[in-house]
Subunit: 120 residues, 2 copies
C-alpha cells in the first residue's frame, strides 16, 4: 500500500494513447493516460468508463453531441455508448477508472490497441 502521486506517475512515461496502470481495486484498474490529437470511435459492451481530467481539456464526441471536460472534472461513459476522445493542441492528462477487462479501443481492434498494459 503506497501513496500514489499523480504528478510523479505522469512524469514516468511519455507515450500518448497508451494507458498505464496506477492501481487496482475490486476488479477495477486505475489508469493514467496522456492524450493528444484524436482517438478512434469506440464503445465498451460491458464496461462503464470514468474519465477524470488531471491536466488540460478533454473533448468527448458522442454520436448526438460533444462534451468538454476540464481540469478537475469527471465524466462517466455508460457501457455501449460510442465515444471518441480528442484534444486541442495541448497534451491532456487523464485518470481512468474501469474494470480490468476493459480494452481502451473497446470492441474495435486497431493498430492503437495495446495488448498488455504496463504498470507505472
Amino acid at each position: 500500500m503506497q501513496v500514489i502521486n499523480l504528478t510523479e506517475k505522469f512524469s514516468r512515461f511519455t507515450e500518448q494513447w497508451t494507458p498505464k496502470i496506477a492501481g487496482e481495486l475490486n476488479g477495477q484498474y486505475l489508469k493514467l493516460a496522456k492524450l493528444k490529437g484524436e482517438f478512434l470511435w469506440h464503445s465498451h459492451d460491458d464496461e462503464d468508463e470514468l474519465f477524470m481530467v488531471i491536466k488540460g481539456t478533454l473533448i468527448l464526441d458522442f454520436r448526438d453531441r460533444t462534451e468538454t471536460i476540464r481540469e478537475g472534472e469527471i465524466i462517466i461513459v455508460p457501457k455501449g455508448i460510442e465515444h471518441r476522445p480528442r484534444t486541442g493542441d495541448e497534451e491532456v492528462h487523464v485518470m481512468l477508472f474501469e474494470p480490468k477487462s476493459t480494452k481502451h479501443t473497446g470492441e474495435v481492434e486497431h493498430q492503437r490497441t495495446v495488448k498488455e498494459l504496463e504498470w507505472v
Copy 2:
C-alpha cells in the same frame, strides 16, 4: 451522462463524515466527503477503498504506521486492513471510490454510520 465538476459538487453540502454519491459505474460508487477531526478505526471485510485528496491533507492511521495523503494524491486501502482517517485543523475534501455495498464505518456500527447515502 453529465460532466461532474468537483468544486461545484462540494459546494452543495456542508456535513462532515457523510459521504455523498456523485457517480455510479460498474457496481461502484464515486463518493465525495468532507472530513475534519478524527474518524473511528474500521475496516471493510470485502471491499478495497480508494481515497483521492481533492483539498487539504488526509492522514490515515494504520495499526503499524501512518500515511499522509496530500492534494492530488491517492491511496488504495485493501480489504480487511484497519484504518482511521483523520485531519489537521483544516477541513479535507476527498473523493472515494468503492463498491456500492461499502459502509463508510466498515464492520463497525456507530452513531456516525449513515444508513442511506444521498446523491449530490
